[in-house]
C-alpha cells in the first residue's frame, strides 16, 4: 500500500525510529542546513523534521533529507521488509523500479486536493512567506527547491517530464535555476525558447516518497515519471490542475509553485554546494522562473537536501535508479551481466558491473551500452568485474580492482565525451562547456588466458579449499573457541 502523501511517510519514519522532531526554534539561515548536513554525514541516522523556524509562524515545517544515510528509508518508502541484507534490499528496489517501468499506470485526475487549501495569486505571491533555507554558507541564495518535482510538458507530444532541478530565490516572485544541457527540461525549454515563448512549469514540494524518487531518476526520453510512479505504487497518482496554467501536479503536495520559465532571460544563479561533494560550478547566468501562483496545505512541510559529500537523497535515489536503468539496458542487449551497483558513497561517479565473460572484449561492450543509456550518461567510471565478485561488497571490488585490473591493458580511457559541469576533477574549461571523459577499468581475467596456466587461482576460503574441508571448519567453528 503506497503512502498517500508526505505526512503518512513521516509518520512511518517516526514509527521506525528514522525521524527526529526538532521542536526548538531553528534559524533557516544556515543552522537548519548544518543540522541536515550533519545528519547526512552520520550515514545511519534519522531525518530531522523542523517544527519551528525563526521569523515564521508555528506550523511552517521542513523535512530534512528524508533518504539520506543509505537505503533503509527507501526500503520503508517502498514497503519492503527491513530485515533484508544491503545487497538484497538494493536488488529488490531495482526490481521494483523495473516493474514500475514495465507496468506503468497513468495518473488519475481529481478536481481538487489538499495542495489547494491556500492559494496566493498576483500581488499575494511571496516566496519569502515560506521558510526556504540558506543551505550552505556561500550559496548564491535561499534554495526553496533542492528536493522536489518540477513539472514541464513537451510542446510536441503528451510527454510530461518530472525532474528535480535546483531552484534559488531571486526575489519574492522569481527563482533562478541550473539545468544541465543533457537533462530533459533543457530540451523541453529549448523548444519554447527558440520561439521566444515562456514555458509553463510547476514545482511540487513535499510529495509522497515514490514521486520524489522518480523525479530524481533518469528515465528514458519521452517516458513520463508520473506513469512510472504509478507503476511502482501499483496505483495511480492523483493529479490536480494548476490554477494558472494547464499543468497537473500531485494533489497531496505540500506546496506548489506555478509559473513560467522566461525565454531568453538569464540571471546569475548559484553557486551551490552540489551532489558531487564540492561547489565546482561557479555563479553564472542561468534560467529564470517567474512565479504566478503559490498553493499550499495548511501547516505546510517543505523538503530540503543539503547536497555535499555522500550520502544524500540524490546519492541514494540516483544510485538505485541509475543502476536499475543500466542493468535494464545491459539485459535488453542480452549481455550476461549478473549485477550492477552504483555505491552512493562514491558520489555517483563509479558503477561496478559483474558479468560472465563468454568472449574477449565484453567489458568494452558493457561500457558502450552503459554509457550509451540515459542512466549511465553521468557515471564516468565503470569497473567491470568477474561473476565471482559481488559489486555490493566493496572489499571484494577494491581487491579485484587492485589485483586484476592491469594498469595499462585493463585501463581504457575515453578522452572526449559529453560531460557534466558539476564534476570537480575537470578543469575550468571542461566544466564551463560540460566536456567529459570516461574510464573503464576491466577487472576481469582475460578470456584468452589459458585457465590452467595463466589465471591465478583465487586464494579465498570458499575457493582454495575442498568443499569437505570448508564444511568441516564451519561445522566446528564454535568448537575451536570462536564466538561467531
Amino acid at each position: 500500500m503506497a503512502f498517500k502523501d508526505l505526512r503518512e511517510f513521516i509518520d512511518k519514519l517516526e514509527a521506525e525510529g528514522e525521524l527526529v522532531r526538532i521542536k526548538q526554534e531553528v534559524d533557516w539561515n544556515l543552522e537548519a542546513g548544518a543540522i541536515i548536513r550533519k545528519c547526512e554525514e552520520t550515514m545511519d541516522g534519522p531525518a530531522p523534521l523542523f517544527e519551528k523556524f525563526k521569523g515564521y509562524p508555528e506550523g511552517y515545517r521542513l523535512l530534512g533529507d528524508p533518504f539520506s544515510s543509505g537505503i533503509k528509508k527507501f526500503a520503508i518508502a517502498a514497503g519492503l521488509p527491513l530485515n533484508m541484507s544491503h545487497q538484497d534490499t538494493y536488488r529488490a528496489l531495482m526490481d521494483l523500479w523495473d516493474e514500475g517501468l514495465a507496468n506503468m499506470i497513468k495518473p488519475r485526475i481529481v478536481s481538487t486536493g489538499p495542495c489547494k487549501e491556500n492559494i496566493l495569486k498576483g500581488d499575494e505571491v511571496n516566496l519569502y512567506k515560506l521558510p526556504a533555507l540558506m543551505l550552505h554558507d556561500g550559496d548564491g541564495g535561499r534554495y526553496i527547491g533542492s528536493l522536489h518535482t518540477t513539472v514541464a510538458k513537451d510542446p510536441d507530444s503528451d510527454w510530461v517530464n518530472w525532474g528535480c532541478y535546483r531552484q534559488m530565490i531571486h526575489n519574492k516572485n522569481h527563482l533562478g535555476g541550473f539545468v544541465a544541457p543533457a537533462q530533459d527540461m533543457a530540451s523541453i525549454f529549448g523548444k519554447f525558447e527558440v520561439e521566444n515563448k515562456p514555458m509553463p512549469f510547476a514545482t511540487a514540494i513535499g510529495t509522497d516518497p515514490i514521486i520524489t524518487a522518480v523525479s530524481v531518476s533518469a528515465l528514458p526520453f519521452g517516458v513520463s515519471e508520473a506513469d512510472v510512479a504509478g507503476g511502482i505504487r501499483k496505483e495511480p497518482i492523483d493529479l490536480v490542475k494548476c490554477e494558472t496554467n494547464d499543468l497537473y501536479v500531485p494533489a497531496t503536495a505540500e506546496v506548489v509553485l506555478e509559473g513560467h520559465v522566461l525565454p531568453n532571460v538569464r540571471m546569475d544563479e548559484g553557486p551551490f554546494g552540489e551532489y558531487t561533494g564540492y561547489r565546482a560550478s561557479p555563479r553564472a547566468p542561468r534560467i529564470v522562473y517567474r512565479i504566478d501562483c503559490i498553493t499550499y496545505r495548511n501547516d505546510p512541510i517543505l523538503t530540503a537536501v543539503v547536497e555535499g559529500i555522500p550520502i544524500t537523497t540524490s546519492h541514494s535515489a540516483c544510485a538505485i535508479t541509475w543502476a536499475a536503468g543500466i542493468r535494464k539496458a545491459l539485459r535488453d542487449e542480452g549481455l550476461p551481466i549478473i549485477d550492477v551497483n552504483i555505491e552512493p558513497q562514491a558520489g555517483l561517479f563509479i558503477a561496478v558491473i559483474s558479468t560472465k565473460t563468454p568472449y574477449p572484449g565484453i567489458a568494452h561492450r558493457i561500457a558502450s551500452v552503459a554509457w550509451g543509456c540515459k542512466s549511465g550518461q553521468f557515471v564516468p567510471k565503470l569497473m567491470v568485474v568477474d561473476d565471482d565478485i559481488s559489486p555490493y561488497n566493496m572489499n571484494e571490488v577494491i581487491h579485484a580492482f587492485g589485483s586484476k585490473c592491469h594498469p595499462v591493458r585493463g585501463t581504457h580511457t575515453v578522452p572526449y565525451a559529453a560531460g557534466n559541469p558539476l564534476i570537480p576533477y575537470q578543469n575550468l574549461e571542461e566544466r564551463l562547456w560540460a566536456k567529459g571523459c570516461r574510464v573503464l577499468y576491466d577487472c576481469t581475467w582475460p578470456v584468452d588466458w589459458p585457465r590452467e596456466i595463466a589465471v591465478p587461482p583465487r586464494s579465498a576460503f570458499n575457493s582454495i579449499y575442498p568443499k569437505a574441508i570448508q564444511e568441516k571448519v564451519l561445522a566446528n567453528w564454535k568448537n575451536y573457541g570462536f564466538k561467531k
Binding site: 556561500g138 548564491g140 541564495g141 526575489n171 522566461l262 532571460v265 561547489r279 555563479r283
Partner: protein, 80 residues
C-alpha cells in the same frame, strides 16, 4: 533596511575601487537580489557613509576584507 550587502565577483578587479558602477547585490537579511548603481570602495575612510559590502568569489569563498558600498540608484533586474 539592511545595511550589509554581498556581491559575487570573479576577481577583485571586477570592482572599480572608488568609482560608480553597476552591480548585482543581495541583502543579508533575506538574500533578495537587487541590481544597483553604486560607488564601491575598499576603504571605509574614502566612503564613510557607505554600507558594508561583503565579497564572495564565484564559487562562494568569502574575501577576507569587507568593502563599502553607497547605493546611488536602483536598476531593473534582467527579468523586470
Amino acid at each position: 533596511m539592511a545595511t550589509e550587502y554581498e556581491t559575487f565577483v570573479t576577481t577583485l578587479a571586477d570592482l572599480k575601487d572608488g568609482e560608480e558602477m553597476e552591480l548585482l547585490i543581495r541583502d543579508l537579511e533575506n538574500y533578495e537580489s537587487r541590481k544597483v548603481k553604486a560607488i564601491v570602495s575598499s576603504s571605509k575612510e574614502k566612503l564613510p557613509d557607505g554600507d558594508t559590502l561583503w565579497i564572495r568569489f564565484s564559487r562562494g569563498l568569502q574575501h577576507k576584507d569587507t568593502w563599502v558600498i553607497k547605493i546611488t540608484g536602483e536598476l531593473p533586474l534582467p527579468f523586470a
